[in-house]
C-alpha cells in the first residue's frame, strides 16, 4: 500500500502546519502562563444575547434555516450594515449568513477562483488567508505592509503585484495581527486600482467596531469600508461577523454581503457543504444586532484602557511599537534584540511565563515582531508587562 502521507492531495500537503498550532502546544499544560496569545475577547457573550439563544432553544427552534440564513436575521444585518458601513444590501439576495467569516473566506475563494488565479493580500495577516486561497487552487500573492507605514497598505505596492492573472484583492482593516487601520486616501487609491484592473475586492472587516481614536485613544473612530466608496459596492464582497465586537466567537457566525450573482455563487457551495449556520446562533445574532450597541461600547472602552496601558509600558521598556488604531492587538518590533520572533516568544514563555505569538506565524512579513493581544483582564496585563519588562531588560 502507498504510504498514507502520499494519499493526501498535493495542494493540501503543500500547506504548512499553522505556526500558531505549534506554539499552542508549547503553552498547553503550563498553568502559570499569562497568555497574550489569544485572538478572541475575554468577555463572555453579553447575557441578553446568550439569553436569546436559550429562549430560541426553549421555543424549540432547532430546525435548518434557509440556506442564506433566517430572513429576519438578514434584514437585521442589512439595517446594521447600512448604519455602520453606509452601504445598502438587499436582504433577499445580497446577504449570506455563514459559519464565521472563516467559512465566508473559503466560499468566496472557491466561488471566484479558477486554478492558478491570483489573489493579492497584505501580510502580516490572519493565518487562514494564504491556505484558504491555496485550498481553492488559487495563487496567494502577498504584499508586505511595513512598520514605517504603520502597517497600512500602499496602493503602489498593490499595483506592482498585479499581473494578468490577478482576480481578487483581499483586504483586512483593522488588521489582525497588527491593529493597523487603512487611511481613507490610500483606500481610495486602492479602490481606483481595483476598478482599473477589474478586480473583485474581498474585505474582511471583522474588527471594524473596535477602533480607538482621539488623543487618548478612548473615542470610537469612524470606520470607512471600501464597499462604501463610489463604484465599489458592485465589485466588493464585504465580510463581517459577530465574533469580535459582540464577543461571540463560539457561536461561529459571520456573513458576506455582495452583489446577487456573487452571493448566489457562494450560496451554491455553502448549501452543499454547510447547509446553513446554526439556528440558535442566528437567533442570538438578531438580539445582538438589535440591542448590542451599549455592550459593544462598554467592551471597546475596556480594550481602549488596556491598549493605553500596553502602549505606555512598551514605551517604558523601550520596545518599539506603533500605536494601533483598531482590533485588540499590539505588534511590537523586537528586531533590536537580535532574536527571531519565535526565539523571542519561546524564551519569553520559558523565562517569564508570558505567551505572545511569534510574528512569523502571520507570514514571513511578520518576522521581527510579536503579537500581544490585550483582550485580557487589565490586572493580568499589568503583571504580564512587568514580566516582559524584566525579560527585555535582560536581553539588553
Amino acid at each position: 500500500m502507498k504510504p498514507l502521507q502520499e494519499r493526501i492531495a498535493k495542494h493540501v500537503r503543500s500547506i504548512p502546519r499553522s505556526g500558531i498550532r505549534d506554539f499552542f502546544e508549547l503553552v498547553v499544560g503550563r498553568d502559570d502562563v499569562i497568555s497574550l496569545g489569544v485572538g478572541e475577547p475575554d468577555f463572555a457573550t453579553p447575557w441578553h444575547i446568550r439569553e436569546a439563544a436559550i429562549f430560541s432553544l426553549e421555543k424549540g427552534q432547532t430546525s435548518y434555516t434557509s440556506n442564506l440564513g433566517l430572513l429576519s436575521l438578514r434584514q437585521a444585518i442589512a439595517e446594521y450594515v447600512e448604519g455602520l458601513f453606509k452601504v445598502s444590501y438587499d436582504p433577499a439576495s445580497e446577504i449570506l449568513v455563514t459559519v464565521g467569516v472563516s467559512e465566508a473566506l473559503d466560499l468566496v475563494f472557491r466561488a471566484l477562483l479558477d486554478p492558478g488565479d491570483e489573489v493579492i493580500y497584505h501580510e502580516p495577516c490572519y493565518v487562514s488567508y494564504s491556505p484558504s486561497i491555496v485550498l481553492a487552487y488559487g495563487k496567494a500573492v502577498a504584499v508586505q505592509t511595513k512598520v514605517e507605514d504603520n502597517y497600512a497598505l500602499r496602493a503602489a505596492d498593490v499595483e506592482a503585484a498585479i499581473t494578468d492573472r490577478t482576480r481578487v484583492l483581499l483586504l483586512n482593516f483593522p488588521t489582525n495581527p497588527t491593529g493597523a487601520v487603512e487611511p481613507v486616501e490610500e483606500l481610495e487609491k486602492i479602490a481606483a486600482l481595483a476598478v482599473k484592473h477589474d478586480l473583485i475586492v474581498v474585505s474582511d472587516e471583522i474588527y471594524c467596531e473596535l477602533l480607538y481614536s482621539g488623543a487618548d485613544g478612548m473615542q470610537p473612530g469612524e470606520h470607512t469600508s471600501i464597499a462604501s466608496l463610489p463604484g465599489m459596492k458592485e465589485r466588493t464582497v464585504l465580510l463581517h461577523g459577530f465574533s469580535k465586537a459582540f464577543a461571540m466567537t463560539g457561536f461561529r457566525l459571520g456573513y458576506a454581503c455582495a452583489p446577487t450573482v456573487l452571493t448566489e455563487a457562494m450560496m451554491k457551495i455553502h448549501q452543499y457543504s454547510m447547509l446553513c449556520a446554526s439556528i440558535m446562533s442566528q437567533y442570538a445574532a438578531i438580539e445582538a444586532l438589535r440591542n448590542g450597541a451599549p455592550e459593544i461600547e462598554r467592551m471597546r472602552r475596556a480594550y481602549a484602557q488596556r491598549r493605553n496601558l500596553m502602549l505606555k509600558r512598551f514605551a517604558e521598556m523601550e520596545l518599539p511599537c506603533f500605536s494601533p488604531g483598531g482590533a485588540f492587538y499590539m505588534f511590537p518590533d523586537i528586531r533590536k534584540y537580535g532574536l527571531s520572533s519565535k526565539e523571542f516568544a519561546l524564551r519569553l514563555l520559558e523565562e517569564e511565563s508570558v505567551a505572545v505569538v511569534p510574528g512569523s506565524a502571520f507570514g514571513p512579513a511578520g518576522e521581527g515582531s510579536v503579537r500581544a493581544c490585550y483582550a485580557t483582564a487589565y490586572d493580568k496585563i499589568e503583571i504580564a508587562m512587568d514580566r516582559m519588562a524584566a525579560f527585555v531588560k535582560r536581553l539588553g
Binding site: 500558531i20 499552542f24 498547553v28 489569544v38 490572519y126 493565518v127 478612548m218 472602552r301 496601558l309
Partner: protein, 159 residues
C-alpha cells in the same frame, strides 16, 4: 467623570495611581475628581459586596414594605429620613406603586429584625402598615452575580 465612576463602581479598590493610568490623567487630577464627587455626595461611600452565606456570617436580611401618611409639608421626606437613620436599615427608597417605602433591614437573626419592625418601625407616627419579606438566598448583589466562576476557558493561543 463618567469613566471614573464606571471604574470605581466596578472596583472601588483601584488606587489613585491605577485610576490615573487607566484614564490617562495625572494622579492629582484623579484625586481632585474623587474629592469633588465625594463632596457633592455623588459618591456616598465604598464597601465590599459580601455574600453572607459564603462568608459564614450570621445574617438575616429583609425587605420591608412600608405605607406612610404623607405630611402636609414635606410629604414623605421627614419620616423616610428618620427611618433611614436606624443602623439596622441598609437601604431605604421611596417607591411608586402599592407601598411607599422599600426598607432593607439587616440583623443577626429573625428575632432582631422582627423586633426592629414591631418596636421601632410600626410604632412611628405616620406609619400605616408594614409587610416584612425575609431574604432567602443571594443570586446577585450590587451588580455581582453570586457563585459565578471567573475561570478563563479560552485556549491559550488562538489565531
Amino acid at each position: 467623570m463618567d469613566a471614573l465612576l464606571e471604574l470605581l463602581q466596578q472596583d472601588a479598590r483601584l488606587t489613585t495611581a491605577q485610576l490615573a493610568e487607566r484614564l490617562g490623567r495625572s494622579e492629582s487630577e484623579i484625586a481632585a475628581m474623587i474629592t469633588g464627587l465625594q463632596e457633592k455626595g455623588a459618591i456616598l461611600g465604598y464597601h465590599a459586596v459580601v455574600d453572607p452565606e459564603r462568608a459564614g456570617q450570621r445574617h438575616v436580611s429583609a425587605l420591608i414594605e412600608v405605607k406612610l401618611t404623607p405630611e402636609r409639608d414635606g410629604g414623605f421626606d421627614r419620616l423616610a429620613e428618620r427611618i433611614a437613620r436606624f443602623d439596622q436599615v441598609r437601604s431605604c427608597y421611596l417607591m411608586s406603586g402599592g407601598y411607599d417605602l422599600a426598607v432593607f433591614v439587616e440583623g443577626e437573626d429573625l428575632r432582631e429584625v422582627a423586633r426592629f419592625v414591631s418596636e421601632r418601625l410600626s410604632t412611628l407616627d405616620g406609619v400605616i402598615s408594614t409587610a416584612t419579606h425575609f431574604q432567602l438566598k443571594v443570586y446577585k448583589q450590587s451588580g455581582f452575580t453570586a457563585g459565578e466562576s471567573h475561570a478563563d476557558e479560552r485556549l491559550a493561543v488562538t489565531p
